[in-house]
Symmetry: C2
Subunit: 290 residues, 2 copies
Amino acid sequence: MPGLVAVDWGTSSLRGARLDEAGRVLEEKSAPLGILSVPNGDFAAVFAAQFSDWMTKGALCLISGMAGSRQGWVEAPYVSCPAGLGELVRHLKWIEPGRIAIVPGMSAEQGVVPDVMRGEEVQIFGAMRLAGLSDGLFVLPGTHSKWTTVRGRRIEGFRTYMTGEFYGVLSQHSILGRTLEADAPLDEAAFLRGLARSGEGGSLLHNAFGVRALALFDRLGPAQSASYLSGLLIGEELAREKPGRDVILIGAPSLTARYALALARTGAKVRTFGAEATWAGLKALQGEMT
Amino acid sequence: MPGLVAVDWGTSSLRGARLDEAGRVLEEKSAPLGILSVPNGDFAAVFAAQFSDWMTKGALCLISGMAGSRQGWVEAPYVSCPAGLGELVRHLKWIEPGRIAIVPGMSAEQGVVPDVMRGEEVQIFGAMRLAGLSDGLFVLPGTHSKWTTVRGRRIEGFRTYMTGEFYGVLSQHSILGRTLEADAPLDEAAFLRGLARSGEGGSLLHNAFGVRALALFDRLGPAQSASYLSGLLIGEELAREKPGRDVILIGAPSLTARYALALARTGAKVRTFGAEATWAGLKALQGEMT
Protein backbone atom coordinates (compact mmCIF):
# COMPACT_ATOMS: atom_id res chain seq x y z
CA MET A 1 0.00 0.00 0.00
CA PRO A 2 1.43 3.41 -0.94
CA GLY A 3 1.78 6.31 1.47
CA LEU A 4 -1.05 8.70 2.22
CA VAL A 5 -1.51 12.43 2.55
CA ALA A 6 -4.07 12.62 5.37
CA VAL A 7 -5.91 15.92 5.77
CA ASP A 8 -8.34 17.13 8.41
CA TRP A 9 -9.97 20.31 7.10
CA GLY A 10 -12.19 21.78 9.78
CA THR A 11 -14.08 24.99 10.38
CA SER A 12 -11.19 26.88 11.92
CA SER A 13 -8.05 24.97 11.01
CA LEU A 14 -6.40 22.87 8.31
CA ARG A 15 -4.14 20.03 9.44
CA GLY A 16 -2.27 17.46 7.39
CA ALA A 17 0.07 14.52 7.87
CA ARG A 18 2.20 12.52 5.48
CA LEU A 19 1.98 8.83 6.40
CA ASP A 20 4.18 5.98 5.26
CA GLU A 21 2.98 2.59 4.03
CA ALA A 22 2.49 1.38 7.59
CA GLY A 23 0.58 4.49 8.68
CA ARG A 24 3.46 6.07 10.60
CA VAL A 25 3.47 9.87 10.61
CA LEU A 26 6.47 11.17 8.64
CA GLU A 27 5.61 14.84 8.80
CA GLU A 28 2.75 17.03 10.05
CA LYS A 29 1.64 20.59 9.38
CA SER A 30 -1.25 22.86 10.30
CA ALA A 31 -2.49 26.33 9.36
CA PRO A 32 -5.33 28.62 10.52
CA LEU A 33 -7.01 28.08 7.15
CA GLY A 34 -10.29 26.48 8.18
CA ILE A 35 -13.05 26.37 5.58
CA LEU A 36 -14.38 29.75 6.75
CA SER A 37 -10.93 31.32 6.20
CA VAL A 38 -10.24 30.23 2.62
CA PRO A 39 -9.52 33.37 0.51
CA ASN A 40 -12.19 33.77 -2.21
CA GLY A 41 -13.38 30.23 -1.51
CA ASP A 42 -10.43 29.00 -3.59
CA PHE A 43 -9.95 25.68 -1.84
CA ALA A 44 -7.81 24.28 -4.66
CA ALA A 45 -5.29 27.09 -4.26
CA VAL A 46 -5.05 26.66 -0.49
CA PHE A 47 -4.70 22.91 -0.90
CA ALA A 48 -1.94 23.32 -3.49
CA ALA A 49 -0.07 25.87 -1.39
CA GLN A 50 -0.11 23.59 1.64
CA PHE A 51 0.28 20.13 0.19
CA SER A 52 1.64 20.18 -3.40
CA ASP A 53 5.10 19.21 -2.15
CA TRP A 54 3.59 16.07 -0.58
CA MET A 55 1.43 15.17 -3.60
CA THR A 56 4.15 13.39 -5.55
CA LYS A 57 3.31 11.07 -8.48
CA GLY A 58 0.97 8.29 -7.38
CA ALA A 59 0.19 9.92 -4.04
CA LEU A 60 -3.31 9.63 -2.56
CA CYS A 61 -4.91 12.32 -0.40
CA LEU A 62 -7.99 11.75 1.77
CA ILE A 63 -9.63 14.76 3.40
CA SER A 64 -12.05 14.54 6.32
CA GLY A 65 -14.02 17.22 8.14
CA MET A 66 -15.98 20.30 7.13
CA ALA A 67 -14.31 20.48 3.71
CA GLY A 68 -17.17 18.20 2.63
CA SER A 69 -19.91 20.47 3.97
CA ARG A 70 -22.07 22.81 1.93
CA GLN A 71 -19.70 25.65 2.86
CA GLY A 72 -16.64 23.54 2.02
CA TRP A 73 -14.66 22.57 -1.08
CA VAL A 74 -17.20 20.16 -2.57
CA GLU A 75 -20.29 18.90 -0.76
CA ALA A 76 -20.08 15.21 0.15
CA PRO A 77 -23.60 14.19 1.25
CA TYR A 78 -23.93 12.42 4.60
CA VAL A 79 -23.86 8.61 4.66
CA SER A 80 -26.68 7.22 6.83
CA CYS A 81 -26.01 5.10 9.92
CA PRO A 82 -25.50 2.26 10.41
CA ALA A 83 -22.43 2.33 8.19
CA GLY A 84 -18.84 1.15 8.15
CA LEU A 85 -15.65 2.00 6.28
CA GLY A 86 -17.04 0.33 3.16
CA GLU A 87 -19.91 2.79 2.85
CA LEU A 88 -17.55 5.73 3.39
CA VAL A 89 -15.25 4.50 0.62
CA ARG A 90 -18.15 4.01 -1.78
CA HIS A 91 -19.32 7.57 -1.15
CA LEU A 92 -15.97 9.34 -1.33
CA LYS A 93 -16.30 12.58 -3.25
CA TRP A 94 -13.40 12.70 -5.68
CA ILE A 95 -11.81 16.07 -6.39
CA GLU A 96 -9.25 14.44 -8.70
CA PRO A 97 -10.17 10.82 -9.47
CA GLY A 98 -7.80 8.38 -7.80
CA ARG A 99 -5.77 11.21 -6.30
CA ILE A 100 -7.72 13.55 -3.96
CA ALA A 101 -11.02 12.65 -2.26
CA ILE A 102 -13.25 14.09 0.45
CA VAL A 103 -14.67 11.70 3.03
CA PRO A 104 -18.41 12.12 3.57
CA GLY A 105 -19.87 12.78 7.02
CA MET A 106 -22.51 10.58 8.60
CA SER A 107 -26.14 11.13 9.58
CA ALA A 108 -28.40 9.41 12.08
CA GLU A 109 -32.09 9.69 12.87
CA GLN A 110 -33.15 10.18 16.50
CA GLY A 111 -36.91 9.79 16.32
CA VAL A 112 -38.00 12.34 13.75
CA VAL A 113 -34.96 14.57 14.17
CA PRO A 114 -31.75 13.90 12.23
CA ASP A 115 -28.24 14.21 13.59
CA VAL A 116 -24.99 14.75 11.71
CA MET A 117 -21.21 14.59 12.04
CA ARG A 118 -18.27 15.37 9.76
CA GLY A 119 -14.80 14.24 10.64
CA GLU A 120 -15.66 12.46 13.90
CA GLU A 121 -16.56 9.28 11.96
CA VAL A 122 -12.96 9.10 10.71
CA GLN A 123 -11.59 9.58 14.24
CA ILE A 124 -13.83 6.76 15.46
CA PHE A 125 -12.62 4.34 12.80
CA GLY A 126 -9.09 5.39 13.67
CA ALA A 127 -9.58 4.80 17.39
CA MET A 128 -11.07 1.38 16.59
CA ARG A 129 -7.92 0.53 14.69
CA LEU A 130 -5.61 1.88 17.39
CA ALA A 131 -7.53 0.19 20.21
CA GLY A 132 -8.07 -3.05 18.30
CA LEU A 133 -11.82 -2.82 18.96
CA SER A 134 -14.83 -3.52 16.76
CA ASP A 135 -17.54 -2.64 19.30
CA GLY A 136 -18.02 0.00 21.96
CA LEU A 137 -19.09 3.44 23.05
CA PHE A 138 -16.97 6.21 21.52
CA VAL A 139 -17.27 9.71 22.98
CA LEU A 140 -15.81 12.78 21.25
CA PRO A 141 -16.00 15.84 23.51
CA GLY A 142 -15.93 19.24 21.89
CA THR A 143 -17.94 22.18 20.62
CA HIS A 144 -20.47 19.58 19.51
CA SER A 145 -19.80 16.41 21.52
CA LYS A 146 -20.66 13.07 19.89
CA TRP A 147 -21.76 9.91 21.71
CA THR A 148 -21.40 7.07 19.24
CA THR A 149 -22.25 3.39 19.37
CA VAL A 150 -20.12 1.00 17.32
CA ARG A 151 -20.98 -2.63 16.62
CA GLY A 152 -19.14 -5.00 14.30
CA ARG A 153 -16.90 -2.20 13.07
CA ARG A 154 -19.92 -0.19 11.98
CA ILE A 155 -21.21 3.07 13.46
CA GLU A 156 -24.73 2.17 14.56
CA GLY A 157 -25.87 5.60 15.69
CA PHE A 158 -24.87 8.71 17.59
CA ARG A 159 -26.13 11.77 19.41
CA THR A 160 -24.68 15.28 19.39
CA TYR A 161 -24.58 17.56 22.45
CA MET A 162 -23.78 21.27 22.04
CA THR A 163 -21.75 21.16 25.24
CA GLY A 164 -18.71 23.19 24.23
CA GLU A 165 -20.76 25.74 22.35
CA PHE A 166 -23.17 26.24 25.27
CA TYR A 167 -20.17 26.74 27.56
CA GLY A 168 -18.84 29.39 25.20
CA VAL A 169 -22.04 31.37 24.66
CA LEU A 170 -23.13 31.19 28.30
CA SER A 171 -19.75 32.26 29.66
CA GLN A 172 -19.25 34.99 27.07
CA HIS A 173 -22.72 36.30 26.32
CA SER A 174 -25.05 35.54 29.24
CA ILE A 175 -25.40 36.99 32.73
CA LEU A 176 -23.25 34.09 33.99
CA GLY A 177 -20.24 35.75 32.38
CA ARG A 178 -20.34 38.56 34.95
CA THR A 179 -19.16 36.29 37.74
CA LEU A 180 -17.29 33.62 35.80
CA GLU A 181 -13.67 33.34 34.71
CA ALA A 182 -14.11 31.23 31.58
CA ASP A 183 -10.45 30.30 31.09
CA ALA A 184 -9.64 29.44 34.69
CA PRO A 185 -7.93 26.09 35.29
CA LEU A 186 -10.19 23.28 36.45
CA ASP A 187 -11.39 23.44 40.06
CA GLU A 188 -12.10 19.76 40.56
CA ALA A 189 -14.39 20.13 43.57
CA ALA A 190 -16.57 22.73 41.81
CA PHE A 191 -16.64 20.62 38.66
CA LEU A 192 -17.86 17.62 40.63
CA ARG A 193 -20.51 19.76 42.36
CA GLY A 194 -21.84 20.82 38.95
CA LEU A 195 -21.74 17.24 37.74
CA ALA A 196 -23.72 16.05 40.77
CA ARG A 197 -26.25 18.85 40.32
CA SER A 198 -27.03 17.74 36.74
CA GLY A 199 -27.47 14.20 38.01
CA GLU A 200 -30.40 15.35 40.17
CA GLY A 201 -32.65 15.68 37.13
CA GLY A 202 -33.39 19.41 37.06
CA SER A 203 -33.43 21.30 33.79
CA LEU A 204 -30.25 22.87 32.49
CA LEU A 205 -32.23 26.13 32.15
CA HIS A 206 -32.72 26.07 35.92
CA ASN A 207 -29.35 24.64 36.92
CA ALA A 208 -27.53 27.29 34.86
CA PHE A 209 -29.28 30.04 36.83
CA GLY A 210 -27.89 28.35 39.95
CA VAL A 211 -24.42 29.48 38.83
CA ARG A 212 -25.64 33.06 39.12
CA ALA A 213 -27.43 32.54 42.42
CA LEU A 214 -24.47 30.73 44.02
CA ALA A 215 -22.23 33.62 42.98
CA LEU A 216 -24.66 36.19 44.45
CA PHE A 217 -24.45 34.40 47.80
CA ASP A 218 -20.64 34.15 47.54
CA ARG A 219 -20.81 30.36 47.45
CA LEU A 220 -18.91 30.13 44.15
CA GLY A 221 -15.97 32.29 43.11
CA PRO A 222 -15.29 33.20 39.45
CA ALA A 223 -12.90 30.29 38.79
CA GLN A 224 -15.15 27.85 40.62
CA SER A 225 -18.16 29.09 38.66
CA ALA A 226 -16.45 28.17 35.40
CA SER A 227 -15.72 24.63 36.59
CA TYR A 228 -19.20 24.27 38.09
CA LEU A 229 -20.80 25.28 34.76
CA SER A 230 -18.53 22.84 32.93
CA GLY A 231 -19.63 20.12 35.35
CA LEU A 232 -23.30 21.00 34.81
CA LEU A 233 -22.94 20.69 31.05
CA ILE A 234 -20.88 17.50 30.96
CA GLY A 235 -23.15 16.09 33.66
CA GLU A 236 -26.10 16.76 31.36
CA GLU A 237 -24.55 14.42 28.78
CA LEU A 238 -23.80 11.72 31.33
CA ALA A 239 -27.24 11.90 32.89
CA ARG A 240 -28.85 11.12 29.51
CA GLU A 241 -26.32 8.66 28.11
CA LYS A 242 -25.78 6.70 31.33
CA PRO A 243 -22.52 5.07 30.19
CA GLY A 244 -22.11 1.94 32.26
CA ARG A 245 -19.25 0.18 30.53
CA ASP A 246 -16.01 0.81 28.70
CA VAL A 247 -15.73 4.17 26.99
CA ILE A 248 -13.29 5.29 24.31
CA LEU A 249 -12.62 9.03 24.56
CA ILE A 250 -11.24 10.87 21.55
CA GLY A 251 -10.16 14.49 21.68
CA ALA A 252 -7.84 17.13 23.06
CA PRO A 253 -6.32 16.18 26.45
CA SER A 254 -7.73 19.29 28.19
CA LEU A 255 -11.25 18.08 27.36
CA THR A 256 -10.87 14.33 27.61
CA ALA A 257 -9.37 14.79 31.10
CA ARG A 258 -12.64 16.34 32.29
CA TYR A 259 -14.70 13.56 30.77
CA ALA A 260 -12.40 10.93 32.23
CA LEU A 261 -12.87 12.51 35.66
CA ALA A 262 -16.64 12.51 35.21
CA LEU A 263 -16.79 9.00 33.76
CA ALA A 264 -14.68 7.61 36.59
CA ARG A 265 -17.60 8.49 38.89
CA THR A 266 -19.90 6.24 36.86
CA GLY A 267 -17.57 3.24 37.08
CA ALA A 268 -16.79 3.36 33.36
CA LYS A 269 -13.35 2.27 32.20
CA VAL A 270 -11.83 4.86 29.90
CA ARG A 271 -9.23 4.72 27.13
CA THR A 272 -8.21 7.96 25.46
CA PHE A 273 -6.95 8.87 21.98
CA GLY A 274 -5.97 12.23 20.53
CA ALA A 275 -5.18 13.66 17.10
CA GLU A 276 -3.55 10.39 16.03
CA ALA A 277 -7.05 8.91 15.67
CA THR A 278 -7.71 11.05 12.60
CA TRP A 279 -4.58 9.85 10.81
CA ALA A 280 -5.29 6.22 11.76
CA GLY A 281 -8.86 6.57 10.48
CA LEU A 282 -7.83 7.97 7.11
CA LYS A 283 -5.22 5.18 6.85
CA ALA A 284 -7.94 2.62 7.62
CA LEU A 285 -10.06 4.12 4.84
CA GLN A 286 -7.17 3.81 2.43
CA GLY A 287 -6.84 0.17 3.45
CA GLU A 288 -10.52 -0.40 2.74
CA MET A 289 -10.06 0.95 -0.82
CA THR A 290 -7.62 -1.72 -1.95
CA MET B 1 -55.23 55.11 52.65
CA PRO B 2 -53.33 57.79 50.72
CA GLY B 3 -52.27 57.49 47.09
CA LEU B 4 -49.09 55.73 46.05
CA VAL B 5 -46.22 56.36 43.66
CA ALA B 6 -45.49 52.86 42.42
CA VAL B 7 -42.13 52.32 40.71
CA ASP B 8 -40.69 49.31 38.90
CA TRP B 9 -36.96 49.95 38.43
CA GLY B 10 -35.47 47.16 36.37
CA THR B 11 -32.23 46.42 34.61
CA SER B 12 -33.13 48.15 31.36
CA SER B 13 -36.09 50.40 32.14
CA LEU B 14 -37.68 52.59 34.78
CA ARG B 15 -41.47 52.63 34.98
CA GLY B 16 -43.76 54.44 37.36
CA ALA B 17 -47.46 54.91 38.07
CA ARG B 18 -49.39 57.27 40.27
CA LEU B 19 -52.20 55.38 41.97
CA ASP B 20 -55.22 56.76 43.80
CA GLU B 21 -56.52 55.58 47.18
CA ALA B 22 -58.30 52.64 45.55
CA GLY B 23 -55.28 51.60 43.49
CA ARG B 24 -56.52 52.99 40.19
CA VAL B 25 -53.80 54.19 37.83
CA LEU B 26 -54.02 57.98 37.40
CA GLU B 27 -50.90 58.42 35.34
CA GLU B 28 -48.02 56.29 34.05
CA LYS B 29 -44.55 57.01 32.71
CA SER B 30 -41.48 55.09 31.63
CA ALA B 31 -37.92 55.84 30.59
CA PRO B 32 -34.94 53.82 29.33
CA LEU B 33 -33.18 54.51 32.62
CA GLY B 34 -32.69 51.00 33.98
CA ILE B 35 -30.22 50.57 36.83
CA LEU B 36 -27.38 49.96 34.37
CA SER B 37 -28.14 53.28 32.61
CA VAL B 38 -28.14 55.64 35.60
CA PRO B 39 -25.59 58.45 34.94
CA ASN B 40 -22.75 58.31 37.51
CA GLY B 41 -24.84 55.92 39.60
CA ASP B 42 -26.81 58.95 40.84
CA PHE B 43 -30.09 57.17 41.48
CA ALA B 44 -31.44 60.00 43.64
CA ALA B 45 -31.06 62.46 40.76
CA VAL B 46 -32.79 60.18 38.26
CA PHE B 47 -35.57 59.50 40.74
CA ALA B 48 -36.08 63.23 41.41
CA ALA B 49 -36.08 64.08 37.71
CA GLN B 50 -38.72 61.46 36.96
CA PHE B 51 -40.98 61.55 40.00
CA SER B 52 -40.53 64.76 42.06
CA ASP B 53 -43.77 66.19 40.60
CA TRP B 54 -45.64 63.13 41.93
CA MET B 55 -43.95 63.14 45.35
CA THR B 56 -46.22 65.74 46.94
CA LYS B 57 -46.38 66.19 50.73
CA GLY B 58 -47.36 62.95 52.44
CA ALA B 59 -46.84 60.84 49.32
CA LEU B 60 -45.44 57.32 49.64
CA CYS B 61 -43.25 55.70 46.98
CA LEU B 62 -42.52 51.98 46.84
CA ILE B 63 -39.90 50.72 44.37
CA SER B 64 -39.59 47.11 43.26
CA GLY B 65 -37.09 45.42 40.97
CA MET B 66 -33.35 45.58 40.45
CA ALA B 67 -33.07 48.97 42.22
CA GLY B 68 -32.62 46.86 45.35
CA SER B 69 -29.79 44.75 43.92
CA ARG B 70 -26.10 45.17 44.65
CA GLN B 71 -25.80 47.22 41.45
CA GLY B 72 -28.87 49.30 42.30
CA TRP B 73 -29.73 52.32 44.44
CA VAL B 74 -29.43 50.65 47.85
CA GLU B 75 -29.10 46.92 48.39
CA ALA B 76 -32.17 45.35 49.95
CA PRO B 77 -31.17 41.81 50.98
CA TYR B 78 -33.38 38.94 49.82
CA VAL B 79 -36.18 37.76 52.10
CA SER B 80 -36.23 33.94 52.37
CA CYS B 81 -39.20 31.86 51.26
CA PRO B 82 -41.74 31.03 52.49
CA ALA B 83 -42.78 34.63 52.98
CA GLY B 84 -45.79 36.88 52.52
CA LEU B 85 -46.46 40.61 52.27
CA GLY B 86 -45.76 41.01 55.98
CA GLU B 87 -42.15 39.89 55.63
CA LEU B 88 -41.64 42.18 52.64
CA VAL B 89 -42.98 45.17 54.60
CA ARG B 90 -40.75 44.40 57.59
CA HIS B 91 -37.70 44.28 55.31
CA LEU B 92 -38.41 47.37 53.23
CA LYS B 93 -35.22 49.34 52.70
CA TRP B 94 -36.06 52.96 53.39
CA ILE B 95 -34.35 55.60 51.29
CA GLU B 96 -36.31 58.35 53.07
CA PRO B 97 -38.09 57.01 56.14
CA GLY B 98 -41.84 56.94 55.66
CA ARG B 99 -41.54 58.37 52.17
CA ILE B 100 -39.44 56.24 49.71
CA ALA B 101 -38.68 52.56 50.17
CA ILE B 102 -37.21 49.73 48.13
CA VAL B 103 -38.96 46.37 48.25
CA PRO B 104 -36.56 43.45 48.85
CA GLY B 105 -36.40 40.49 46.50
CA MET B 106 -36.93 36.93 47.64
CA SER B 107 -34.68 33.88 47.82
CA ALA B 108 -35.40 30.16 47.87
CA GLU B 109 -33.25 27.09 48.40
CA GLN B 110 -33.50 24.25 45.89
CA GLY B 111 -31.45 21.53 47.51
CA VAL B 112 -28.07 23.12 48.16
CA VAL B 113 -28.45 25.75 45.45
CA PRO B 114 -30.20 29.05 46.14
CA ASP B 115 -32.55 30.85 43.79
CA VAL B 116 -33.48 34.53 43.67
CA MET B 117 -35.98 36.99 42.27
CA ARG B 118 -36.41 40.76 42.40
CA GLY B 119 -39.63 42.37 41.28
CA GLU B 120 -41.49 39.21 40.37
CA GLU B 121 -42.60 38.75 44.02
CA VAL B 122 -44.47 42.04 43.80
CA GLN B 123 -46.14 41.00 40.55
CA ILE B 124 -47.24 37.76 42.17
CA PHE B 125 -48.82 39.52 45.15
CA GLY B 126 -50.48 41.86 42.67
CA ALA B 127 -51.87 39.03 40.57
CA MET B 128 -53.17 37.35 43.76
CA ARG B 129 -55.04 40.54 44.56
CA LEU B 130 -56.38 40.96 41.01
CA ALA B 131 -57.40 37.31 40.72
CA GLY B 132 -58.75 37.08 44.26
CA LEU B 133 -56.56 34.04 44.93
CA SER B 134 -54.52 33.01 47.94
CA ASP B 135 -53.09 29.76 46.51
CA GLY B 136 -51.81 28.61 43.17
CA LEU B 137 -49.05 28.24 40.63
CA PHE B 138 -47.81 31.57 39.28
CA VAL B 139 -45.61 31.55 36.19
CA LEU B 140 -43.69 34.64 35.02
CA PRO B 141 -42.13 34.06 31.60
CA GLY B 142 -39.18 36.19 30.61
CA THR B 143 -35.41 36.43 30.39
CA HIS B 144 -35.39 34.47 33.65
CA SER B 145 -38.75 32.73 33.95
CA LYS B 146 -40.08 32.07 37.44
CA TRP B 147 -42.31 29.16 38.48
CA THR B 148 -43.75 30.05 41.87
CA THR B 149 -45.94 28.20 44.33
CA VAL B 150 -48.24 30.26 46.55
CA ARG B 151 -50.10 28.92 49.57
CA GLY B 152 -52.12 30.95 52.07
CA ARG B 153 -51.05 34.22 50.45
CA ARG B 154 -47.39 33.32 51.00
CA ILE B 155 -44.77 32.50 48.37
CA GLU B 156 -43.68 29.00 49.33
CA GLY B 157 -40.90 28.54 46.81
CA PHE B 158 -39.90 29.09 43.19
CA ARG B 159 -37.55 28.00 40.46
CA THR B 160 -35.90 30.16 37.82
CA TYR B 161 -35.37 29.06 34.21
CA MET B 162 -33.04 31.04 31.94
CA THR B 163 -35.42 30.51 29.04
CA GLY B 164 -35.46 33.95 27.46
CA GLU B 165 -31.74 34.44 27.93
CA PHE B 166 -30.93 31.04 26.37
CA TYR B 167 -33.14 31.94 23.42
CA GLY B 168 -31.23 35.18 23.00
CA VAL B 169 -27.71 33.81 23.25
CA LEU B 170 -28.41 30.74 21.15
CA SER B 171 -30.15 32.65 18.38
CA GLN B 172 -27.59 35.47 18.36
CA HIS B 173 -24.30 33.83 19.26
CA SER B 174 -24.44 30.10 18.46
CA ILE B 175 -24.37 28.14 15.21
CA LEU B 176 -28.19 28.01 15.37
CA GLY B 177 -28.27 31.70 14.47
CA ARG B 178 -27.04 30.92 10.96
CA THR B 179 -30.34 29.33 9.96
CA LEU B 180 -32.72 31.05 12.35
CA GLU B 181 -34.75 34.25 12.06
CA ALA B 182 -34.94 35.22 15.73
CA ASP B 183 -37.64 37.89 15.39
CA ALA B 184 -39.98 35.96 13.09
CA PRO B 185 -43.61 35.78 14.17
CA LEU B 186 -44.68 32.56 15.86
CA ASP B 187 -45.08 29.51 13.62
CA GLU B 188 -47.47 27.54 15.78
CA ALA B 189 -46.84 24.13 14.19
CA ALA B 190 -43.06 24.46 14.56
CA PHE B 191 -43.46 25.71 18.13
CA LEU B 192 -45.56 22.68 19.02
CA ARG B 193 -43.02 20.36 17.36
CA GLY B 194 -40.28 21.83 19.56
CA LEU B 195 -42.51 21.55 22.61
CA ALA B 196 -43.21 17.88 21.87
CA ARG B 197 -39.52 17.20 21.32
CA SER B 198 -38.63 18.50 24.80
CA GLY B 199 -41.34 16.31 26.24
CA GLU B 200 -39.50 13.21 25.00
CA GLY B 201 -36.87 13.55 27.71
CA GLY B 202 -33.71 14.23 25.71
CA SER B 203 -31.21 16.80 26.89
CA LEU B 204 -31.54 20.41 25.75
CA LEU B 205 -27.88 20.18 24.65
CA HIS B 206 -28.92 17.48 22.19
CA ASN B 207 -32.33 18.86 21.21
CA ALA B 208 -30.80 22.26 20.41
CA PHE B 209 -28.44 20.64 17.91
CA GLY B 210 -31.55 19.19 16.28
CA VAL B 211 -32.45 22.74 15.18
CA ARG B 212 -29.23 22.79 13.19
CA ALA B 213 -29.64 19.29 11.78
CA LEU B 214 -33.28 19.87 10.76
CA ALA B 215 -32.19 23.04 8.94
CA LEU B 216 -29.37 21.18 7.15
CA PHE B 217 -31.93 18.70 5.80
CA ASP B 218 -34.32 21.52 4.85
CA ARG B 219 -36.92 20.28 7.30
CA LEU B 220 -37.09 23.63 9.13
CA GLY B 221 -36.96 27.07 7.53
CA PRO B 222 -35.48 30.10 9.34
CA ALA B 223 -38.78 31.35 10.78
CA GLN B 224 -39.82 27.82 11.76
CA SER B 225 -36.44 27.25 13.42
CA ALA B 226 -37.03 30.22 15.71
CA SER B 227 -40.41 28.91 16.81
CA TYR B 228 -39.09 25.36 17.15
CA LEU B 229 -36.27 26.57 19.44
CA SER B 230 -38.77 28.60 21.46
CA GLY B 231 -40.90 25.45 21.81
CA LEU B 232 -37.87 23.40 22.89
CA LEU B 233 -37.02 25.90 25.62
CA ILE B 234 -40.54 26.45 26.95
CA GLY B 235 -41.10 22.70 26.68
CA GLU B 236 -38.06 22.20 28.91
CA GLU B 237 -39.82 24.19 31.65
CA LEU B 238 -43.08 22.31 31.26
CA ALA B 239 -41.38 18.92 31.21
CA ARG B 240 -39.85 19.61 34.63
CA GLU B 241 -42.67 21.54 36.28
CA LYS B 242 -45.51 19.32 35.04
CA PRO B 243 -48.26 21.87 35.75
CA GLY B 244 -51.46 19.89 36.06
CA ARG B 245 -53.86 22.48 37.40
CA ASP B 246 -54.73 26.16 37.21
CA VAL B 247 -51.90 28.47 36.24
CA ILE B 248 -51.65 32.23 36.61
CA LEU B 249 -49.44 33.72 33.91
CA ILE B 250 -47.91 37.15 34.43
CA GLY B 251 -46.00 38.98 31.73
CA ALA B 252 -45.98 40.63 28.34
CA PRO B 253 -48.73 39.33 26.01
CA SER B 254 -46.22 38.21 23.34
CA LEU B 255 -44.69 35.81 25.87
CA THR B 256 -47.71 34.76 27.87
CA ALA B 257 -49.47 33.82 24.61
CA ARG B 258 -46.79 31.20 23.92
CA TYR B 259 -47.02 29.79 27.42
CA ALA B 260 -50.81 29.74 27.23
CA LEU B 261 -50.56 27.76 23.98
CA ALA B 262 -48.13 25.31 25.58
CA LEU B 263 -50.07 25.02 28.83
CA ALA B 264 -53.32 24.37 26.96
CA ARG B 265 -51.70 21.11 25.79
CA THR B 266 -51.25 20.01 29.40
CA GLY B 267 -54.87 20.61 30.28
CA ALA B 268 -54.02 23.51 32.59
CA LYS B 269 -56.48 26.38 32.90
CA VAL B 270 -54.76 29.69 32.42
CA ARG B 271 -55.46 33.24 33.59
CA THR B 272 -53.18 36.02 32.42
CA PHE B 273 -52.08 39.35 33.90
CA GLY B 274 -49.77 42.02 32.52
CA ALA B 275 -48.04 45.15 33.82
CA GLU B 276 -51.02 45.96 36.05
CA ALA B 277 -49.86 43.19 38.40
CA THR B 278 -46.87 45.30 39.48
CA TRP B 279 -49.03 48.26 40.44
CA ALA B 280 -51.53 46.02 42.24
CA GLY B 281 -48.70 44.35 44.14
CA LEU B 282 -47.17 47.61 45.32
CA LYS B 283 -50.67 48.78 46.35
CA ALA B 284 -51.13 45.53 48.30
CA LEU B 285 -47.82 46.19 50.07
CA GLN B 286 -48.99 49.66 51.01
CA GLY B 287 -52.16 48.13 52.40
CA GLU B 288 -50.11 45.72 54.51
CA MET B 289 -48.20 48.67 56.03
CA THR B 290 -51.23 50.27 57.65
